[in-house]
Symmetry: C2
Subunit: 343 residues, 2 copies
Amino acid sequence: MSRKLKVAAAQVGTIHANSDRAETLQRLITLLKTAASQGAQLVVFPETTFTTFFPRYVLSPTELDKYFEKGDDITQSENVKQFFDTAQSLHIDVCIGYAELTSTGDPYNTCVYYSATQGKVISKYRKIHLPGTSEPFDDPTAINQLEKKYFKPGNLGFNAFRAPGLVPAALKKDTTEPNTAGKGDPIVGMMICNDRRWPESWRAYGLQGVELVLCGYNTPNFAPDLYGEPDMDVQAAEREAYFHHKLVLEYNSYANSCYSISAARAGLDDGKYGLIGGSSIVDPNGHTIAEAAGTGDEVVVAEIDLGVCRYGKETMFDFGRHRRIETYGMISSQTGVIEPPLL
Amino acid sequence: MSRKLKVAAAQVGTIHANSDRAETLQRLITLLKTAASQGAQLVVFPETTFTTFFPRYVLSPTELDKYFEKGDDITQSENVKQFFDTAQSLHIDVCIGYAELTSTGDPYNTCVYYSATQGKVISKYRKIHLPGTSEPFDDPTAINQLEKKYFKPGNLGFNAFRAPGLVPAALKKDTTEPNTAGKGDPIVGMMICNDRRWPESWRAYGLQGVELVLCGYNTPNFAPDLYGEPDMDVQAAEREAYFHHKLVLEYNSYANSCYSISAARAGLDDGKYGLIGGSSIVDPNGHTIAEAAGTGDEVVVAEIDLGVCRYGKETMFDFGRHRRIETYGMISSQTGVIEPPLL
């Protein structure tokens, strides 16, 4: 039976440090309406969507405060309530990232899954792989990446969940069939930006049978891993950043036989901080099936069939048949590198 | 200081079930000489290099026997001794795969690293991720993949090692420097064919600071994960198999900041079993820097600088700084998929 659905990535172009928050919110609502008008049932927004990507700035506690949404239920935040109300009225599911300050004062780089069917947030993810450094670089010309300073590492793990209301009710619980694999509501996993570069994030979801990985990101338009060349050609550096972005999504979607939807904050913030676009939808064979054309506000839509996930999960990547966990101990017991001794 | 070396992949074209073993051996020796003449210090050969890829056949124990090398030291096997003697006389290191029957009668899909400097095998790897099925398919037209029937899963784990004699002696042990990361003899890890599709194989080596992953393979020229379409276009299927091969090498080399060298058994065995070529050398940023042009016997050579591995290992993929093992437990404790309950 068909498990088709229509999904979208909402790419968000330039947001400056001094962009008006209400104006930004209207742009997001316009993207939501555009996605809904194209028949999308689920739309993925970027990381820290409601403001510019502030971890690039060195900020005082007071300056920092304005970038965070307070409290435990983002849908009730006055700043952004209209966004979720619109999703509800359009009956469209949303995954969206924001800077979260919990009721106990803990800061996280967070995203939520808002279910229109349920009328509430049904899953929350807090970014686990915070990149960058805990303190600003000594070099005043370097662009900082202070997520380790401004956020705590996510404490919710990688918890896949079922998203209700996206596939026909007839495909829900079939009590006559003991093997429920590949049935029922879509199995969804969320990650944020740098998480997507780490195979561990994907495998944790893959082991839960994930069919759809959702990932918002802010990715600078130069690859810092470009041999560390200070005189790097700007366009080559941007191609390199795109290359790695695409590589990590295509490989990990393939190796876990799942679709992935990624949504960029893109453009040129403050007239000087460039971010790649490349919002995309990738299939379980690792092919990019839809991709943003530019770096502005843009909706990317594709119809997908979750049934396509099954083939890989039952053959090449049938984990139960092929994985050899007796050789994987190091992966979860050892954080850093231990080299073989010098000869 | 420079840690440059010249490495090669020796791609081996068609070998039929009835190919003469002595003739095949001479082809391998020719490849070895060609690599040496181009200045290669290390050359990687395919999986089960000395014969055709026999796990595609349903074989009796007697028929099976002739494909295996007996005993624990491959270099002393009369069938292949000349190959290692040639490597010794050319002073070239070799990684080569073969079907191993140990002195205790256990069958493995194995490869060894032969060090010309040491004049012996200094590391052995036994394939961990055996693909395919334990018994033949019911469909007599299907091509079998009986590695699970003919081999035991590798029991040596993923053990990285240092390969001596490849970089200048001046770069060896520096007792004045407590941090030896990125110094000394190259850190090498070996894997075989299907292992390369699994991020766990690469990460196990990455956690040992691997700089050079060596991988021989036999990969059919159609991707079984192509949506399971029985009427798949032949050329599209071959492109798909190449696409996945390239994707897994490029991503995992990037995500572990290492070079990789992969060597194919390629061509059209028995006039009907097609295998992809695509033997290649990939750099730590995920770029293929050298690649076989065809599907016949061919040597692919590149000069590499192990110093290039450092940048990624110290920034984006600085495991000690960024990995969050408290969220990875499932990866080494749970073999198969456990889906979230149906709603």
